[in-house]
Every structure is written in C-alpha cells, then in structure tokens.
Symmetry: C2
Subunit: 352 residues, 2 copies
DNA sequence: CAATCCGATGGTAGCGCTGTCAATAATTGT
DNA sequence: ACAATTATTGACAGCGCTACCATCGGATTG
C-alpha cells in the first residue's frame, strides 16, 4: 500500500476511478457514502484506493463541499490537569473518526474566547466544544450563528447553546460542605484561587451550605484571582489562619490548593485531620497518595471529554442525542484528611 | 468590521478586489506578500478587507497554493505535565502567527507515531514538531520526505532529521547522581517507570555515573514499563526497599515517583533526608512545595516549546537557524530532600 | 533617445474534489 | 406485461484562491 504514491506523488481521485473503472464521482461517493455503491463497485474502488495508496486532498474536499472535518475545542488552559484529562477523552474518542481536533486556549479570558470563536467561524468547523457557560453575548451570538453542533462542557446550566456535558459545581461544593459538617466541624474555611466561573459556583455552593447551617462567616473566606499553585495553597492557608485562627476545616476549590495546605500544616505541625480537616476538589491522583490521603470531589473529566466529542460527532452525522444536557455528576471521595477526629487512629496522620 | 459578512455570508476575494478597485490577484497578494503592492493599493485593499469583513477561505487557499498553514505537533502524552508545559510554549508562540497547530498524541507508541506521521504527510503541513529521536525507520523516511521544516524536541542527539531543541537526559541524570554522591551517599537506588527512550537515557546516565564511582549494583534498580503515577512511586520504593534495605538515596526518573517515595517514607517513618535522600526529575511545582522540598532537575520545557515552534516558523519563512541543534540544558535544583545529613538542621525535615 | 530593465499589476487557467440533477439499470405492483 | 418506482451511476460545472506568465509604464543607461 502506498507504493506508487511515492513514485509520482500525484494520485488523485481520478486515477483511482480510472483504475477501478468507474467515474470520479462514484469514487468520491465511496468515501462519503459507501452504502450507496453496489457491492462490486465498492470493492473495485476499495482495492484501487489501496493499490494506489490514494490519500484524499482535504483542502479540495473542503472547498468543494463547503464543509470541513474539523472540530474546534476551546479550553481555558493547557497546563491545568483538569483540562488535560478532558482533552485526553476528546482525543481518544475522536481517533478513528474522520474528524480532526483543533485546539484553542483562551487562558481564562472570555475576550480571548470571543476572538477564537471568530476565528473558528471563519473556518466553518463541523462542530465545536467550548468550556463553560459564561460566554460573552457576542460569543453566544457567534456560537448560535455557527450552524454546527456545539457542546458546552465542564458545567451544566439552563439555556444551552446546543448541547452540554458537565456537572453542577454548586452541588458538588455543597456536598463537600455537608460532609465536613457531618464530621462535626463548624468553622470551615474556604480557599479559592483563579476565581473563574466554575470556581465561583463552588463558592456559592459553599456559601449557601454554610448559611443553611447558620455557620457562614466572611472571615472564613480567603480568595485570590491569582492562578492556582500548590505553593499558593500554603500561602492562602497562612492568611486564613492569621485571619481566623479557630478554623477546624478547610474546603479548597481544587486539589493543588489542598495539597499546599497539607504541606503547610506539616510545616506548622498542625495535625490532619486531628486539628484540621482538608477537602479538595477534582480528585487528582495525588489526593489518594498523600499522607494523610486527601478527601476530594471526583469529577468525571475523561468521560466528559469522551461524551462531549461523541455527542458532537453524532450530532454532525444527524444523530442528535435524546436529551441535549448530560449531567455526569460527581462523587465525594472521603479520605483520611476529613475523617471525624475520633475515627482516626492515632498514628495514621502526618509523619508521626 | 464584519458587518456585511453576516448579511450575505459571501464575501470572496473578488468582492474585496472590486471594492478596492484592483484585480483579484492583487488583492490576493495583499495577504501573501504585501510589500509587493504599492502603498496606495495596499491601503485600498486593506480598507476594503475591513469594510467587508473579509475572511480568507483557507481551503481554497490550500488547494490553489499546494500548501497549508498547519504545523503538526506529535507528542506522546496529553496528561503528562511535562508535555503540557511544552505545548503551552508552542501555543503561546504560535499565536499571532498565521499558523495553526495540529496536535497528535502517540500514547508513547512509535507505531502510532508512524501512523500519525503518515496522516500528516497527507495533509502537507507547513512544518512539524515531533518528540524525541527514536522514530521508526519508516517514520524517519516520512519525515525526511515531507519537504517541510521538522523540529525534534525533548532531547538532542546526532543526526537530526532537520532541527532539534532539547537537552541531554544522560547528562542531567549524571549531574543528579554526582550531586547525590557529593552528599556522601553511596547506595543510590534507581526508580524508573514508563521506560520511554528519554527515561532510558536517564537510566544510562545513572548507570554510568554509578559505575564510574564503582558503586553500580543491579539490586539498586527497580523499573517498570507501567505508566508513572505518584502511587506507583510508593510501590516501587517499597519493592526497592525489600530488595535492597540498605539504600541511602533514591533517584527517581520523574517527580511523580519522587513524591510517591516521599509519601511512602512518611508512612514508614523514614526520615528525609536523614535516612534517605530523594531526587526527582523535571522540577514540577510540587517539588518546591513539598515537605521536605524535593531536589529535582529543572528542564526548560516551556522554553523548549517556544523555541521549537519559533524555529519551525522561521524555517518555513526561509530564516533557517544558524545551528540546527539547540541545547537548552538543565539545572539541578538542590532542595532539602537531598541535603547532606549533617547539613540538615534537626527540625527542618518531615513534619517534626 | 533608443535599448534595457524593473517594479507593479492583470489575465488565464486550473488546484482536486463534490453538489446537483439527469440518465440508466434493476425492481416492483397490478 | 407495462408503467411506476427505486437503486446506481455519470456529466457538468464550479467552490475561492493562487501559480504562472504577460503586460505596461517609467526609471536607468550609454
């Protein structure tokens, strides 16, 4: 296969058709709609393609057909592990399909997002995956006018542009807080960084859960718009401790912050969970490995990517999902860092 | 800008040319080679483009010109932080250029890589970035026949396909071992997972450094082909400890393993660096935040991405680099986890 | 001042494929 | 058995752009 290609480098559909003894258009149909061909022609074209090592010219195809086989994916970050997992799901499930993923990074800027969507519109993608539900009005207009399937990922909400796959950050945070409250903690701090829309909603979940328990106190909250790092977790925790020394738990909007808090506690000889419960968010790998292991909220990121791309491809090909909004939920994974004080055996915490 | 576009959606170069009062080909030149136009025409076309909100049809351009503005990037993993950083560099530096990044994931399989390169060849990319120097013979042939700039990243070696940006994993590992030896350690274990070619070269650096010191001992080595996780670091370390209880240091081929070792030591009450020195690789963020902080080898991943894409774009546009191989080096970042026993003040290690 | 050159511009002819619709062959119903 | 229908197939035109070469002033030269 592919032998003759290197020889001349000029295998067009016409050549394939000639070898197969059919018209070019029939050969073309072999790729786009093979069922429309009779079995004999299909086989003839198939072997001609293989024999010549024919590779379609995508540019010509796009020009003639007025569509591309590109699916755009707009995410806010390339380095955030959360999106890496989603992307892996997207790429894994797009392989084997005819579609190509075109990645674009907004760096958490909705203006940048708008710009990228404008670029995508120019390319007439076959489908689009965008992160979140907080687009600018203009972005939304672009998305709606794009005339291709669009899936919003990472969260769910009313009024999807088209389809959605995600979960409720609000509920997830609420669940985490409920759990902490159940463990008998009362002064639950909130640590937040890079307060993007999804983190905002986690905050709201925290806030309402605390208010419902009549335990809300602004002094329990420390946030920053700075991007998350592990080190920052330690810093923010130090601030929180200075501001409100009597905290007995911390809810971190992500696991990196939580790990930073854990390390800071080790430095300060604060026993976890004896003195303080820690709960993170996302359930990254290290939460299970840490000593003590860290309670976190598992979000189904890989599956989110898989579903998102599958929904888009299905929609492109006319198979629209029954329900446009898919809630993948979350799971609270309870680990040592948030166990009830009495539950923890002496010796299971810290280096001890 | 872009007003009329939404109205009819049919702004072609011809329309722009008409409005500007020039021929279509002149308008075309405005994009590809603006210097060739007289100032007056250039301005006329420019304002016509803006007025009409003209957006070039990339498919038509590619079909007519026999080239694309796609730069392919082939990496082995999407979730590995190392590549996330490289990618960020690539994307950051490609923005603002006319080129589009096309990402492909080999999942550490050189056969998959070969397949992907074949796909890329069909697309006639403007340039290509591939990971490492261990391509199959067929892949190499494809790369060489591709007739576009190619940059190999992550490591350097003799006989680049075209250009290279990276560093010597062998030297980096050697430097790490030298450092550990200088700290007075003698029984230095080696922990390796996902033994990809670059990890292999780190192993060789370790092996030769140990042999040079007459300290090489196969019992010091534990490796697996399983992908790296933090948890795995703990497991491998447990194996190593069972196999060779008298180790006084561990060199881990990456930081995740190192963190896993650290956690495992916390569990087993092994004091770091008192009982054991730990050295990781890559200098991920958590190495500095951990307690104790973990010595690691910093690799300039973001810069690698930036340089790689810049070199490719420059080469596409005829500005070939003076030297095709760029060594970005590495820096050993010494932290608490590998300090000489006597150097460490009591109390600076572990939770204590 | 003719011969030459050069920079700026335009005309022509596709790039390789597919949409549309017509034409033909195979199948069915009554 | 013959019209009506349905599966297959093909002819034609053109998607929007650029490569290639021709053209045409005007500047340069001897």
């Amino acid at each position: 296969m592919g032998r003759k290609q290197t020889k001349s480098g000029k295998i067009r559909l016409t050549e394939v058709a000639k070898l197969a003894g059919v018209s070019p258009i029939t050969a073309s149909r072999f790729f786009r709609n093979p069922e429309a061909l009779s079995l004999s022609k299909r086989e003839r074209v198939d072997s001609a393609v293989k024999e010549l090592g024919y590779v379609p010219n995508l540019a010509a195809r796009a020009l003639a057909s007025h569509r591309t086989e590109v699916i755009g994916v707009v995410i806010p970050s390339l380095t955030n592990n959360v999106f890496a997992d989603v992307l892996r799901g997207i790429y894994d499930s797009s392989e084997g399909s005819r579609y190509t993923i075109q990645l674009a990074n907004t760096r958490y800027s909705i203006l940048q997002e708008e710009k990228l969507l404008r670029l995508f519109r120019a390319q007439k993608p076959a489908g689009l995956i965008v992160t979140g539900i907080n687009q600018t009005a203009e972005s939304r207009t672009i998305l709606e006018s794009m005339n291709c399937p669009v899936t919003q990922i990472m969260e769910i909400g009313d009024s999807p542009v088209d389809m959605m796959v995600g979960f409720s950050h609000y509920d997830a945070a609420s669940a985490a807080i409920s759990h902490i409250l159940e463990q008998g903690r009362r002064r639950i701090g909130f640590l937040g960084a890079r307060m993007d829309p999804r983190v905002q909603r986690r905050f709201e979940g925290y806030r309402d859960a605390m208010k419902a328990a009549s335990l809300f106190d602004p002094n329990l909250i420390v946030t920053t718009s700075v991007p998350t790092t592990i080190t920052l977790g330690g810093t923010l925790f130090a601030d929180l401790l200075a501001q409100t020394p009597d905290i007995d738990a911390v809810f971190c909007v992500n696991d990196d912050l939580a790990l930073g808090v854990l390390f800071e506690c080790q430095r300060r000889q604060i026993s976890i969970p004896g003195d303080l419960a820690i709960v993170g968010f996302n359930d990254l790998e290290f939460t299970a490995a840490a000593v003590p292991s860290i309670t976190s909220v598992r979000t189904n990121r890989y599956e989110m990517g898989r579903h998102a791309i599958t929904m888009v491809i299905d929609a492109i090909e006319g198979r629209r999902p029954q329900t446009p909004v898919l809630d993948l939920g979350f799971q609270l994974v309870v680990r040592e860092s948030s166990m009830r004080q009495s539950t923890v055996m002496a010796g299971s915490v810290g280096i001890d």
